[in-house]
Symmetry: C2
Subunit: 168 residues, 2 copies
């Protein structure tokens, strides 16, 4: 019975990660906010709110984006007045990204919107199921945060190499 869990998890996770729900949820969420916020920069804002003032490189590592990409999003968000760049007093090479007050409130509003949606949805669940689900989700995320497929199956860049052949 337990053997099914991995497969079921893959199927459900697939639906969740593979575009549809993500796009539906986040794209509509940030639509109309303006100030340079889009479906990709929301993670940046969110990460910034979570980490506090950090460099573009650090934030990029957090959200899984190249520094250059973070820098570009940061510029747009800066133009929108949501974040500010400040030189690091400790090391002038670093440029710290900082949420402005408006940025903080924007993140808070967006976050509350999503939280409200999920809250409303989970309210219709048996409370223990909702609690277990969220707890499991948190654990799952935590355990996967720094893990990549390459880490799990080392040296396996081509999982199909032994199963299929070239199809030119």
């Amino acid at each position: 019975m337990n053997d099914e869990l991995g497969r079921r998890c893959e199927a459900a996770l697939g639906e969740l990660l593979q575009r549809r729900i993500r796009v539906n949820l986040y794209e509509d969420l940030v639509a109309g906010v303006g100030r340079g916020v889009d479906i990709t920069s929301y993670p940046i804002l969110s990460g910034l709110a979570r980490l506090g003032p950090v460099t573009a490189g650090t934030l990029g590592a957090e959200v899984g984006l190249d520094r250059s990409g973070v820098s570009r999003h940061a510029t747009r968000l800066e133009d929108g007045g949501l974040i500010t760049r400040r030189p690091d007093p400790a090391d002038a090479r670093n440029t710290l990204l900082i949420l402005t007050d408006e940025g903080e409130s924007t993140v808070a509003v967006l976050r509350d919107r999503l939280a409200g949606i999920f809250e409303q949805q989970l309210r219709s669940w048996p409370s223990h199921q909702a609690e277990q689900f969220v707890a499991g989700l948190e654990r799952f995320v935590r355990e996967n945060h720094d893990r990549s497929f390459a880490d799990i199956v080392p040296g396996t860049n081509n999982p199909l190499a032994t199963t299929d052949q070239e199809a030119d």
Copy 2:
């Protein structure tokens, strides 16, 4: 205590959906597979395996992608020998996308890889927690499948309109 669930769910879901884990997991998973499979076409393959022969439009609606995008991915995957286009006998306007045998096996291998990863991870959990998590995940996905933010908060294209003012 229950009020926290929405917020916790948002935080965890955010990590999951916002790029990092998704990229880490799927990008490495499909790396080296070739045949036109990339991080975006995997959902297409997966969806095709789940739905059976469908039109590009239907598949696009399933994964949340425009028909044109599906068509392009389909062309690439067709070049890779993983799918085939077949005119719909019932309606010549439709072009059905069908997995080739190689496509089926490719999907199966990738899916098994992921399922194995999750299985292995969940094995270290208390069995009831893993079971509850997966069950909750399935329910969550099912309930959100056809739901978008706009559906939930109708007429709210700019959730910040009443909270923040114009900047600049």
